[in-house]
């Protein structure tokens, strides 16, 4: 029986050890990239939000590893739940060395994780006012300049026909009569309401100040002219197009590529997908004609940031990678050619751009743009509060544009409190 007892203790012990080992294993992986022993070069990991460049970024990471021997791990993302995933990773200690930070609101929340990049060489090349600042620290390097508006099929739509409310609506009505989707949105938060809700904010004289006043209750959306018109636009869109709730980003762009949709509300990032579809018509980007607006909405989609919680060696390695990406020939080639970015750096020349990016670049160079107000919205207001409002607007045919704006007002109050 002594055997048995030993056996039992042994087994229990083994089980315990294997458990501990399993836990240790998790740490070990990290250790591999962190410590990985001193003589080897310090590895880094990247977690970022832009799904469109996932594969290209991995290729860039490989190229970097080949050149320098520094291992780079690119952690996959689905885009939508990036913020949650990042929070989980940061909390359990498996945070990436380089992450993306969307805007100032997010930066404020993550303040203690953001490394001050002010003194680094490459940040001096960031185009004016494009850097992400937190107080007087520079915490984010812009990905690229991006813009959105109405992406239209030139064979079906003449931009002259969508320059104000009346012509826009009559264009929609014409398409509706022909059985063509005149204006496509899609069901995901930002593509349903997030981006398009920018216009009434961005057309204010000082959008940021307006939003502050809104949060303080000094102004209301319902009493603001731009929002009243916005409500009318949304009503016209709902009444003359199939519901966007049945559409995903992919089908929205796909239907456009197939010629079943004449216009979609999208940004220059959609060009990559249109390219994959090998569309056989020309397309362009036009401003959304709210209150006769004739400017594209141009801004920075996201920013590279370095995780300050990592040890100095890893931070340095991360900075070196960003430096390589923005300063070396290979890195710049990746940004321009592979990512298809419109660089937000003065030392990187834009390459051969697709028609959408070309439109954004021209607008950006001429200064004829309106800002991205959604970067200053209360954190997560778009998926949390605006989206349910927009959904109920599209579901209930009898809800008016005015009620939509009232509900957006309530949603804003809920988020800003």
């Amino acid at each position: 029986m002594a055997f048995n007892k030993k056996f039992v203790t042994g087994m229990t012990f083994a089980a315990t050890i294997s458990l501990l080992a399993a836990c240790g294993g998790g740490g070990g992986d990290e250790g591999g990239s962190e410590g990985g022993s001193g003589e080897q070069s310090q590895g880094i990991s990247i977690f970022q939000t832009k799904v469109e460049i996932s594969e290209q970024l991995e290729a860039a990471a490989e190229a970097y590893t080949e050149e320098t021997g520094v291992p780079v791990e690119v952690i996959g993302t689905t885009g939508d739940d990036y913020a949650q995933q990042l929070q989980i990773r940061l909390n359990n200690g498996t945070g990436p060395s380089i992450m993306s930070v969307q805007n100032a609101e997010v930066a404020e929340r993550l303040e203690s994780y953001l490394y001050d990049l002010s003194g680094e060489d490459f940040v001096s090349n960031i185009a004016p006012d494009m850097e992400l600042m937190l107080d007087d620290k520079l915490v984010g390097v812009p990905y690229s300049v991006e813009g959105f508006g109405i992406v239209y099929n030139t064979e079906m739509v003449d931009p002259a026909d969508i320059q104000d409310y009346d012509s826009f609506v009559s264009t929609l009505e014409d398409f509706n009569a022909e059985g063509i989707n005149g204006f496509g949105l899609s069901s995901e938060a930002y593509f349903l309401i997030g981006h398009i809700s920018n216009y009434p904010f961005s057309l204010q004289e000082d959008p940021v100040e307006f939003m502050e006043q809104l949060s303080n209750g000094e102004v209301t959306l319902t009493e603001t002219e731009e929002f009243q018109r916005f409500g009318e636009f949304m009503e016209a869109i709902r009444d003359n197009t199939p519901t966007p709730l049945n559409t995903t980003y992919d089908t929205q762009v796909g239907d456009f590529a197939a010629g079943q949709t004449a216009m979609i509300h999208q940004g220059n990032w959609a060009a990559g997908m249109l390219d994959e579809f090998e569309v056989d018509f020309e397309y362009g980007m036009a401003p959304f004609p709210l209150e006769g607006n004739d400017k594209l909405a141009v801004g920075v989609g996201s920013n590279w940031a370095v995780n300050a919680e990592k040890d100095q060696a890893e931070i340095d390695a991360a900075i070196e990678f960003l430096d390589w990406l923005h300063n070396s020939e290979t890195g710049q080639r990746f940004i321009v050619e592979e990512f298809g970015f419109i660089p937000a750096m003065t030392n990187i020349e834009a390459g051969d751009l697709d028609p959408l990016s070309q439109a954004v670049l021209e607008a950006s160079n001429s200064g004829e743009t309106i800002p991205w107000s959604h970067n200053y919205y209360p954190a997560n207001v778009v998926p949390n509060d605006f989206t349910p409002v927009a959904e109920s607007f599209f579901v209930n045919e009898d809800m008016t544009g005015e009620e939509l704006v009232e509900n957006l007002q309530a949603a804003w109050e809920n988020a800003a409190q």
């Binding site: 007892k5 929340r109 203690s112 519901t243 049945n246 997560n380 949390n384 959904e391 579901v395």
Partner: protein, 291 residues
């Protein structure tokens, strides 16, 4: 010595499980209770502010949470009824002298083997394309439209898919119960002149009580805790019309960044489920009959 040997075996099987259970269920649970008394955004480096019972007080006035509570109750009640009715019907069907009983049994169980997430996406497609197509073809557009885009029907869609998934599972439980009913009892009843319905109601149902206890418990707790199908089928929409408990808590914590408040909801959620399921088990246990 024999006793010792037994304890040894006992340990082998329980200690690893106990360890795992403690690590991933008990410890987080206790920490969760602790967090429920703080105001915190869930980011490790940011400050946690103790605010006593404020989170629980706030919860009583949170309309979205109360609505979500009502929806969850509605969903659970409806699904418990449909899942068990359909599951029991399936079980009776495949234990009858049907030729294809074995095949049917396998096929009916299959949906359970598909993960809830995938299932939600499959059904999203069914509601979007197949339902609208049937509506177009048959002209019954008032029944066959995209349920997921209707604030009232979206919840029924959820019940429908959950039933489709779970019915096969509780069917197995009922089959086991039905097969455990001695043939002579039923035969005796038949000789006494009991009709099929009477035999079912007076013999099968009382003797199936243990199976009811288990099935009701499983569907009740699964129904309350549902998240995966909810996420992939409706995502809580349209307009939060299908935002059930678990999703509401997730959104509170990760969407609004109210970690402490979300934890408070989770605790309340736990208490409610525990109370309801335990009551149910207590009641149905009393109804069980000894042979």
């Amino acid at each position: 010595m024999a006793n010792r040997k037994k304890i040894g075996w006992y340990l082998i099987f329980t200690v690893p499980l106990l360890l795992i259970f403690t690590l991933i269920v008990l410890v987080p649970f206790v920490i969760g209770i602790y967090y429920a008394f703080f105001q915190w955004d869930g980011i490790g480096a940011n400050p946690m502010v103790f605010n006593g019972l404020d989170n629980f007080v706030r919860l009583m006035e949170d309309e979205r949470f109360l609505r979500s509570t009502w929806l969850t109750v509605l969903f659970t009640v409806l699904s418990v009824i449909t899942v068990n009715a359909v599951g029991l019907a399936f079980a009776l069907l495949v234990t009858s002298k049907l030729k294809l009983a074995n095949l049917a049994r396998t096929m009916l169980f299959m949906p359970y083997l598909i993960g809830g997430l995938i299932l939600g996406y499959i059904w999203q497609f069914v509601f979007l394309d197949v339902f609208t197509l049937i509506g177009d073809v048959t002209g019954l557009e008032s029944i066959f439209f995209n349920w997921l885009n209707n604030e009232d029907f979206a919840l029924f869609a959820l019940v429908f898919v959950f039933t489709w998934q779970m019915a096969g599972y509780v069917m197995i439980v009922y089959i086991a119960g039905i097969q455990g009913i001695p043939g002579e009892v039923i035969e005796a009843a038949r000789i006494d002149g009991a009709s099929g319905w009477q035999r079912f109601l007076r013999i099968t149902v009382p003797l199936l009580m243990p199976a009811f206890t288990i099935s009701l418990f499983l569907t009740l707790s699964y129904g309350f805790k549902i998240y995966d199908v909810n996420l992939s089928l409706t995502g809580g929409g349209p307009a939060n019309a299908t935002e059930l408990f678990a999703m509401n808590i997730y959104n509170e914590i990760f969407g609004y960044g109210n970690y402490g408040y979300g934890q408070a909801k989770a605790i309340v959620f736990f208490v409610i489920i525990a109370a309801i399921t335990l009551t149910q088990v207590y009641i149905t246990k009393k109804k069980e009959v000894e042979m």
